[in-house]
C-alpha cells in the first residue's frame, strides 16, 4: 500500500472522469485558489472595517452578542475589570458543586488574561485547588512528557470548572474562536461541566466572514499558516434534540457556559 502510487492513480482517475489533463492543473489551481497576499476589494474592506473599530463599535457588538446568546443558553456577562471576574468565579465555585466525584477543583489555561485573574488567591478561602493545564516541554524526554500529559489530563478530568480565554468572539452567532496553542489545552473547555471564558471587548468580531478575512488577509493576525493545526468554534453549551426533538443542554461537553467580557 504505497500512498503515493494510490494517490497518483486516484487523481488520474479523477482527471479521466473530468476529461481534463494534468497539463492544465497549474493554471486551474492559480485560478481557483485566492491569494492571501492579494485580497479582493471586498475582503480588503472587511479587514479595514475591523481595524477601524473604536470603543463604541465594540460595545455595539457586545450588545449584539448579548441578544444572540440568549436562545443558545450562553451567559454573557459584561464586567468592568478583571477583579469582578475573579469575584464572580469565586461566587460560582461557592454556589455550584461537581458533577462527577465529590471534590471541587478548577483548571485553567496558562494565558496572560486568565493568569491575571489570580484564581488561586480568589479561591484560597474556599480551599479549592486551581490547576494550570500546561507544562514546558523544552528538554523533556518522551517518558517525562508522556507523564506530564497524563497529569494534565487527570486534572482536566477531575476539575468541574474550566477557565479559558479565546482568540475572538463572533457576535452574530455567539461563537468563541480558539486556536490551539501549547499553553492552552483543548480539553479545558471540554471535559469540565462548566466552562468559563474571559475576553476583552476588543476581541469582538461580527461574524464568520470577518473571522476568515482576518485570518487570511490581515498580516498581523496571519501566522506562518492561515490556521494552526487545530481550531475550535464554540457557540453556547453542548445541546441535543435527539429524543423526540426535545432540546436538552449538556449532552457531552460543558452543560453551562459563562462568558465574561471586560469592557474596561
Amino acid at each position: 500500500m504505497q500512498t503515493n502510487t494510490t494517490e497518483t492513480q486516484f487523481i488520474k482517475t479523477l482527471r479521466t472522469a473530468l476529461g481534463i489533463g494534468q497539463e492544465s492543473a497549474g493554471a486551474r489551481a492559480a485560478k481557483i485558489f485566492t491569494d492571501p497576499k492579494d485580497p479582493s476589494p471586498e475582503q480588503a474592506a472587511i479587514v479595514k472595517t475591523i481595524k477601524s473599530r473604536r470603543d463604541k463599535d465594540h460595545m455595539a457588538l457586545l450588545h449584539h452578542l448579548s441578544r444572540e446568546a440568549v436562545p443558545l443558553n450562553l451567559n454573557v456577562i459584561p464586567v468592568k475589570d478583571k477583579a469582578q471576574v475573579s469575584k464572580a468565579i469565586a461566587n460560582l465555585v461557592k454556589e455550584t458543586g461537581p458533577e462527577w466525584g465529590a471534590k471541587k477543583s478548577v483548571v485553567q489555561w496558562d494565558h496572560p488574561l486568565v493568569n491575571a485573574l489570580d484564581l488561586k488567591t480568589a479561591l484560597k478561602d474556599q480551599n479549592v485547588p486551581v490547576h494550570t493545564a500546561a507544562f514546558d516541554t523544552t528538554g523533556m524526554d518522551d517518558l517525562t512528557r508522556s507523564k506530564a500529559r497524563d497529569r494534565v489530563r487527570r486534572q482536566m478530568i477531575d476539575s468541574y470548572i474550566g477557565v479559558t480565554s479565546a482568540d475572538f468572539c463572533l457576535a452574530d452567532t455567539a461563537t468563541l474562536v480558539m486556536k490551539s496553542r501549547p499553553k492552552e489545552a483543548r480539553a479545558v473547555s471540554l471535559l469540565p461541566s462548566i466552562h468559563v471564558a474571559v475576553i476583552g471587548k476588543e476581541q469582538m468580531l461580527t461574524n464568520l466572514k470577518e473571522l476568515y478575512a482576518l485570518l487570511k488577509y490581515d498580516p498581523e493576525t496571519r501566522e506562518a499558516e492561515l490556521l494552526p493545526h487545530h481550531m475550535t468554534l464554540i457557540s453556547g453549551p453542548s445541546k441535543t434534540a435527539d429524543i423526540e426533538l426535545v432540546m436538552v443542554h449538556g449532552a457531552h461537553g460543558p452543560r453551562k457556559l459563562y462568558l465574561y467580557v471586560i469592557t474596561g
Binding site: 479523477l14 452574530d172 489545552a185 483543548r186
Partner: protein
Amino acid sequence: MSHDAATKKYAQNAASAIKDEILQKALNKIQSGLGKATALSYQNLDEGPDLRLAAHDIREKTINNLDVVLTRLAAKIRENGGRVYFARTGEQAVEYCLKIARQHHVKQVVKGKSMVTEEIRLNPAFEARGIEVNETDLGEYIIQLAGEKPSHIIAPAAHKTRQQVGRLFERKLGVPYTEDPPELTRIARKALREKFLTADMGISGCNLACAQTGHITVVSNEGNIRMATTLPKVHVAIMGMERVVPNLEDHDILFRLLSRGAAAQKLGGCVSYIGGPAGPEFPDGPEEFHLVILDNGRSRILADPKFREILCCIRCSACLNVCPVYGKIGGHAYDATYCGPIGAVLTPLMEGMNQAKDLCLGESLCGACQQACSVNIDLPRMLLELRYRLAYGDDQWETQPVSVAEKTIHQAWAFLAGHPALYRAFLRTFALGQKIFPTSRGMITKMPGPGAGWTRSRDIQPLSQTPFRKRFKKLNAKKAHG
C-alpha cells in the same frame, strides 16, 4: 436480491411505515418543525436566499477541479504532520482504518456521527475483529443499542419515542426506567464519558474540508465529535472525496448554508478545524491524525455530465425535511445508507440503477427538494434522468431497460397519437368498454392487468362520454351563431 423482490420490499416497507402511527407523528414533527424553520433561515441570510445559488457555483467549480483541490488538501495536511490515504473502494478504506487500529493495539473506538462510515460498513468490520466501537452522538447511540440503522441523516433516532428510549436504556444499560429526555440524556452522557476517557482511537467523518488551509471541519451540537477528536491518541477521519471547498471565503458561505440546511441554525454548536496531529509541545490532542479520502463509486458519477451535479451535495439533509415521500415513508423504507431525495438519486448511482430503481421511481418530482437544498441542486432533473436511463437502458451504467410492458404501452400511445382516426376509434371503444369496471362516486376503483397497480392505492377518472373534441366543436358552433 432480485429486482422484483427489491420492488416488493420497497412497497412493503412503505406500506408498513405509513401504518406506523409513531413514525408518522415523528415525521410530521420533523417536517413541520425543521422543514419550515430551514426555509425561514434562508430568508434571513445577510445576502438573502440567493446565496444558495452562489454556493452552487462554488460547489460546481470545486467538483470540476477536484483533482487540483484534493492534491492541495492532501499536501497541506502532510505538511502539518498528518497522513493522507486515498481509497478507491470502501473495502480499501476499511482495511486502512483496521491497519491503523492494529498498529496501535486499539481495543476501543469512539465515533462521531458519520454517514460515510455507514456507507463503507466500518462498524461491523471493526466488531468482527473484536474491537469495540461506540457511537457517541446521542441519536446514533440509541440506534446502536437498539441494533437499528439511522432513519434520518442528522436525526437518526427521530423514529423512536421517549418511552421506547427509556425501555431500551433500562434493558441495555441496567438503569431504572425513565422517559424524561433530560434524564435520558444524562444517562447517556455518563455512560459515554467513560468510553471517551478510555478509548484509544477516535473516528469521525468530515463535513467540509478547506483545501487552501489544509483542514477538515467537523460539526456537532452535542460536543461528542470534539471529544472523539481530542481525547484518544489517534484520530482517523474519513471523507467522501467531494466534501471540500478551495478557499476560506468559500468555506464561510458553504458552512453557513450547511448549518441552516441541517438544523436551521446560524452556525453549528461545536466546530473543529483539524489539519494535523498535536505536536509534542501540546498538552493534549491526538498524536496521530489520518485522513482517508474516499472514491467508492464517486468518480463514476463524476464522469457522467448528467449526474455530476449530485456531487455538489454537502449532506445537510434539508431535502428530507420537505419531501412528501420521505414525510410519509420515513428513512428505513429506502433501505439504503442515504435516504430521502438525495438517497433516491445517490443510491441508484452507487448501488446500481436496476437494484435501487424504486427509490427514484418512488419520488414525486414535486421539486420541494431543490427549493430546500442548501446548494440548490436540481434533484428532480436527476430523478427524471435516472428514469430515462431505466426506461431505455444504459450500457455505461450496466442498466437494463426496466419494464418492456411500459415501454410497449408508451410506443403504442405514441403511434395512436400520430394517427387521429385510430386515436378517436380507440377512445370511443375505451369509453364504452370502461363501463365494465367497478366505480364509486363516478371514479373507477379497480382495473385489471397493468392498470391494477394504479387503482391499488388510488381511483382513476373515467374517460368522458363526450370527448373534449366534440364539446369544443359545439362551443365554437354556438359562438359562431351567437
